[in-house]
């Protein structure tokens, strides 16, 4: 089957805006988690988030787009611009039907929706913006990216919480294999606003800690829930032959993917994450011993951490593979998390180093070789990225270094 490769990336993360800043921060163990600044969080039971500082939309986007876009779309559009520039792609030189867009979304444009609901409640329906018809919508990032760059090929959006970030990349790979030369894909989520916050609180798994270095502790003995963040990554995916034909640099290949759905709670049947990993490895024609690092989902919730640690140990053996959770420095970005992990894995391959999982005192019950405290030099050619979504979604992806 046609190899599908990544030729560009655009990153917007709480600890770095742009791939270079993000990578430097991640290698250095710099966290982007802190007390919420975008609204006054003092009345809420959780007050920490991974916020992206210093993103001024007007510096990145035309004025016509500002009244009709939520923060999540502005970040997505900027990240898509950076990814296209990084890939050396000028969309105007492509046939519009040869380019598509697939993103994942967890919540859509929540902050925009909050503003319109406030107007509806306080002033009446005639004060609700016409743009509310799409600005909140899950598919808005795919839509706005495709309109901005004239991309009229197959496009869409997937919604499967945090697993959606990998599901979008997998859908992009399918579309390239079916013949569309270039797909802009990935995800950015951003709903750090009061309405978004209470929606996230309703899930019941957020950390109540107000210590930025002790709030989100995947695989730690004191794991107490997760800290949400905003951001993600947009990638450019092309068939290897198309990338070669235009002389593009290649970060790596999306070589395997598997997805499963967990049985309902109380069924007595355990997590099916391990099956997703096996499917992804088989799809990549890779043995567990070929994998140089696992970028874990790292829920930071004890029972979920345990299930993931067991799945990894069952496939790779006790301490059989280096495991890292760089998202401990960003918080959980929902759909944005896994594309950011894939970007991080590709950068790790380039640099020959596995980024660290910061602030962790690992739970001794888990047989994991966690990369703690600081980056670990290593030959990184094949990486497994895991993502789980609320309600039972499991996705696994194998990424290989460019040849």
């Amino acid at each position: 089957m046609t190899p599908v490769v990544v030729t560009g990336m655009g990153v917007a993360a709480p600890n770095g805006l742009g791939a270079a800043d993000y990578w430097a921060a991640t290698l250095g163990g710099k966290s982007g988690i802190g007390r919420i600044t975008r609204f006054d969080p003092s009345g809420y039971p959780t007050q920490l988030a991974g916020e992206i500082p210093g993103f001024e939309a007007a510096e990145h986007l035309p004025g016509r787009l500002l009244p009709q876009t939520d923060r999540v779309t502005r970040l997505s559009l900027a990240a898509a611009d950076w990814a296209l520039a990084d890939a050396g792609v000028d969309p105007e030189s492509f046939d519009p039907l040869d380019m598509g867009v697939v993103t994942a979304s967890h919540a859509g444009g929540f902050e925009f929706g909050q503003g319109e609901l406030q107007k509806l409640w306080a002033k009446g329906s005639q004060f609700v913006s016409a743009y509310q018809s799409f600005a909140w919508f899950y598919a808005v990032n795919s839509g706005q990216i495709s309109i901005r760059h004239g991309m009229k090929g197959p496009s869409g959006v997937v919604v499967s919480d945090q697993a959606g970030g990998l599901d979008a990349l997998a859908q992009a790979r399918r579309l390239v294999r079916k013949g569309t030369p270039l797909i802009v894909c990935g995800a950015v989520d951003a709903s750090v606003c009061p309405w978004g916050w209470v929606a996230q609180l309703a899930g019941g798994r957020m950390s109540g800690s107000d210590e930025p270095t002790r709030a989100y502790l995947p695989f730690d003995r004191d794991a107490r829930g997760y800290v949400p963040g905003e951001g993600g990554a947009i990638l450019i995916m092309e068939s290897a032959s198309a990338a070669r034909a235009r002389g593009a640099k290649v970060y790596g290949e999306i070589s395997g993917y598997g997805a499963t759905f967990d049985p309902p709670p109380g069924s007595g049947r355990g997590s099916t994450l391990r099956t997703a990993v096996r499917i992804a490895l088989d799809d990549a024609n890779a043995a567990p011993g070929d994998v140089d690092a696992v970028f874990a989902d790292g829920a930071g919730v004890p029972e979920l951490d345990r299930a993931e640690a067991e799945a990894i140990s069952e496939v790779f053996g006790s301490g059989g593979v280096p495991v890292t959770v760089p998202k401990a420095m960003t918080g959980r970005l929902y759909s944005g998390a896994a594309p950011l992990d894939v970007a991080c894995a590709l950068l790790a391959m380039q640099a020959g180093t596995i980024p660290p999982t910061v602030h962790i005192d690992p739970c001794p019950e888990y047989d994991l070789d966690l990369v703690l405290h600081q980056a670990r030099p290593a030959t990184v050619r094949t990486v497994l990225v895991l993502a789980r979504g609320h309600g039972g979604f499991n996705s696994a992806m194998v990424v290989r270094a460019g040849r």
Binding site: P62, G63, R64, L66, P67, S129, A130, Y131
Partner: protein, 89 residues
């Protein structure tokens, strides 16, 4: 409110608020007789602009007023007709 006239300056201010400025065309040139379509304002931008005018001036515009072929001059005239009608009423 009933004495005021709706001017090009008012329209530009509301367009900027409702739909933003297009760097390519700008709103500084003489735009009175160029259609909104050519100025880069699509149907939804016009709908939002019309909604802002209705709210601020307490009038209502017919849906079929806000077409792509509309020019700023047409829209200003229509708004002023509605304002005049409101004064008489």
């Amino acid at each position: 409110m009933t004495d005021q006239r709706f001017t090009l300056a008012d329209l530009k201010r509301i367009l900027l608020q409702a739909a933003g400025a297009d760097e390519a065309t700008g709103l500084d040139d003489d735009i009175l007789d160029t259609t909104f379509d050519l100025l880069g304002y699509e149907s939804l931008a016009l709908l939002e602009t019309g909604g802002c005018i209705e709210r601020e001036y307490g009038i209502s515009l017919d849906d079929d007023t806000l077409t792509d072929a509309l020019t700023p001059r047409d829209l200003i005239d229509t708004v002023n007709e509605r304002l005049a009608a409101a004064r008489v009423a």
